[in-house]
């Protein structure tokens, strides 16, 4: 606290509130030994914030605290806090000391007063307890009695000096309505304190939403903006974007989605700890798939939580029995917990609280929410979206394998994207739809996305029977998948066609064999023909030579007949004729010589 220390403003000591989201956005909690102002309208959560901080400090760090209650009696506050799992009743008065600072309604006021007496009393109490924390809850009630802005300011100063002297980490809560009638003193109080947290509750489409914003934090960085807050079993829960950091490990273990056909389409099931979104119009059997998923989880002996909206658990069990899904035994054994919420009563925030409480209580490994879209029906789409997302992250953080159904109006799965916008964070997205053709309404299932898995791209028909849901064999025709009777017809037609095709093939094969034999026979015939031709040719050649030889013999015979003397005269003529015959064939008529006659 010395002036020299101001050179290192980063070393501002902080005191954690133990309210997870808040410590995150405030980068560590409230300023230690300084004063924080918590302001907001009635019912915004100021008291819960202050008390939870005090209880956490007392329990986790053994720092005693004093709670000065100006507005509600300590008994009321204790009773209200008993709904949270803080173990407040078990805490000794020495850990959290409640001081009833309400003025009796019969008290008469006469003139000005000071807080110095009260502070003297608190100082004594602080020494007794060794308190590190103090809460002034609803100090505006007391200050309002001063009826004088300058007197109020004087007492606020007195309070500040006292707090600084006593080294207490203080939380002052004050009611500030939307139409703040006395802005001056609280405006001043905001300057006085080191940290200002504004709580807000407003109606959005008839649903009240609570928010928190740090508007000032001297010497410290903080997350700007409003953060939604809700009340869970452990008290206040501030939703921060930081908690959305995915801490869960990537697991490769596969969990059955409920039945074999779908597992096969998903490449072996869904990943452990992942969440699957099933969208579809009413009656597309989303609940049946959810029931099947729950049943298979129970069959593996895993604790399961089935959250339904609009329909009671008993009715769901009865309806699922008709499609061969039996949950009763698991409900009885306590393995399966059914919870059904009414959407006309609670706002989305309260559903989140209930479901979170159930996750803590039942510690499920698998979980169903059917349908999540119900939380958006009560209005306030923005908050329903935020809550849907937080729920999914919550399940992911707890490594719960979840199946969430969501009702969409049209046949287009993209319609979901405009509503709850869960599809963007869901790991697997299955869409169910109707295909109305040939006077039938058939259910179609397709996988829109599935992170990290090789999944089928085909639209399949979902068939429900007493044996449970199943996927029919895929029949596509003309670019469309056939379903229902059309599929049956197609199946029968296909069988007939197959037989016809087989017969046709056999016939064709025989025909071809015949043609082959025919060609082979023709080849043989032609070969024979060729041989005949060759023989004929050979015959002709030998005949011609034979004729040449006989003409030579005739000349010799003629020479012999004319006598030996004539042979010398004839010799050169005969020689000449032989040469001419070899060079110019055929000259068949070589017997008559023109010169020979002279």
């Amino acid at each position: 606290m010395t002036a020299k220390k101001s050179v290192s403003p980063r070393l501002l000591a902080k005191a954690a509130t133990g309210i997870l989201g808040f410590d995150e956005i405030s980068r560590g909690g409230l300023p230690r030994n300084r004063t924080s102002l918590v302001m907001g309208g009635p019912g915004t959560g100021k008291t819960v914030f202050a008390l939870q901080t005090l209880v956490n400090a007392a329990q986790e760090r053994k720092q005693p605290g004093i709670f000065v209650a100006f507005e509600e009696g300590p008994d009321e506050i204790r009773a209200n806090a008993a709904t949270f799992g803080w173990g407040l009743p078990a805490l000794a008065q020495s850990a959290v000391f409640f001081l009833d600072a309400r003025l009796s309604p019969t008290v008469v006021q006469s003139g000005d007063f000071e807080l110095s007496g009260m502070l003297a009393i608190l100082e004594a109490k602080k020494r007794d307890l060794g308190a590190a924390w103090i809460v002034f809850d609803g100090i505006d009630v007391l200050l309002a009695l001063l009826q004088n802005p300058s007197a109020e300011m004087r007492e606020i100063y007195r309070l500040r000096d006292w707090l600084a002297r006593n080294e207490l980490t203080a939380i002052i809560t004050a009611k500030v309505d939307g139409n703040n009638s006395r802005p001056t003193s609280y405006g001043f109080m905001q300057f006085m304190v080191d940290c200002v947290i504004r709580f807000d509750r407003r109606l959005e489409q008839e649903i009240s939403l609570r928010r928190l914003e740090i508007t000032k934090y001297r010497g410290s960085d903080f997350a700007p903006g409003e953060f939604p807050l809700s009340f869970g079993p452990q008290g206040m829960d501030v939703a921060t974007p930081g908690t959305a950091e995915i801490l869960a490990d990537a697991v490769t273990e596969r969990v059955s989605s409920g039945f074999e056909g779908l597992d096969a389409m998903l490449g072996g099931g869904v990943f452990r700890g992942s969440n699957t979104l099933i969208t579809g119009a009413p009656g597309t059997s989303k609940t049946t798939l959810a029931g099947k998923f729950a049943e298979s989880a129970c069959r593996r002996g895993e604790r399961t939580l089935f959250v339904s909206f609009d329909e009671g658990g008993e009715r769901i069990q009865r309806n699922l029995t008709s499609v061969g899904i039996h949950l009763q035994a698991y409900v009885k054994s306590g393995l399966l917990r059914m919870y059904s919420g009414r959407t006309d009563v609670n706002n989305p925030e309260e559903h989140l609280i209930r479901i979170t409480a159930l996750i803590h209580e039942h510690r499920p490994r698998c979980m169903v929410i059917d349908p999540l879209s119900a939380i958006a029906r009560t209005g306030a789409l923005n908050s329903a979206r935020a809550i849907g997302n937080r729920l999914i992250y919550k399940m992911r953080d707890h490594q719960v394998t979840a199946l969430i159904t969501s009702l969409v109006g049209g046949d287009d799965p993209q319609a979901e994207a405009t509503e709850l916008q869960i599809s963007t964070i869901a790991d697997t997205w299955i869409h169910l739809s109707y295909q109305v053709r040939s006077g039938e309404r058939n259910r179609a299932l397709s996988i829109v996305k599935s992170r990290g898995t090789q999944h089928s791209n085909q639209v399949r028909e979902l068939v429900l029977s007493a044996a449970g849901p199943a996927l029919a064999a895929a029949y596509s025709s003309g670019g469309e998948v056939l379903m229902g009777t059309l599929r049956w017809e197609k199946e029968a037609e296909d069988r007939t066609q197959k037989r016809r095709q087989q017969a046709e093939f056999a016939y064709k094969r025989r025909e071809l064999q015949f043609a082959e034999a025919d060609i082979a026979a023709r080849i043989t015939a032609l070969q024979l023909d060729l041989n005949k031709q060759r023989t004929e040719l050979a015959l002709y050649t030998s005949d011609d030579e034979a004729r040449d030889a006989s003409s030579d013999e005739q000349e010799n015979a003629l020479r012999k007949r004319r006598g030996a003397g004539a042979a010398d005269m004839l010799a050169p003529v005969l020689e000449k004729r032989r040469v001419a015959r070899t060079s110019a064939r055929p000259r068949t008529n070589g017997g008559k010589e023109p010169r020979r006659g002279s």
Binding site: L99, D100, A101, L103, S104, T106, V107, V108, Q109, S110, G111, D112, F113, E114, L115, S116, G117, M118, A120, I121, E123, A124, K125, L142, L145
Partner: protein
């Protein structure tokens, strides 16, 4: 000890009907506490001739006493008896409201 006790006997000779027993809680020498003591003494002089008993408690010195008495705001005047207990906070500058709280009539100076 800051505790003061005063008991005034009846001086006029009229029969003593009631003795008002009061306790005033103050915070040391804080301005409003000082004013309250002065104002109360003036009121007693004028209106409580019948007799009264006043205890002044300094909460700075006796915080545990104040705590057990359920007192936080100072100055604070408590009427212990007679009749129903009543409580007045402030420096007691508004005489009529103090008298009303003590069960006396404002327009009755004697």
């Amino acid at each position: 000890m800051a505790r003061k006790k005063r008991a005034k006997a009846d001086a006029t000779g009229e029969p003593v009907t009631t003795v008002v027993v009061m306790c005033l809680y103050v915070a040391g020498r804080a301005p409003n506490s000082v004013k309250a003591i002065a104002n109360l003494e003036a009121i007693c002089r004028r209106h409580l001739k019948d007799g009264y008993q006043l205890e002044i408690v300094d909460v700075c010195e006796h915080p545990h006493r104040a705590l057990s008495d359920g007192i936080l705001v100072t100055p604070s005047l408590t009427k212990v008896s007679p009749g129903p207990a009543s409580n007045v906070i402030g420096n007691l500058s508004d005489t009529s409201s103090v008298l009303a709280a003590l069960g006396l009539h404002a327009g009755d100076p004697q």
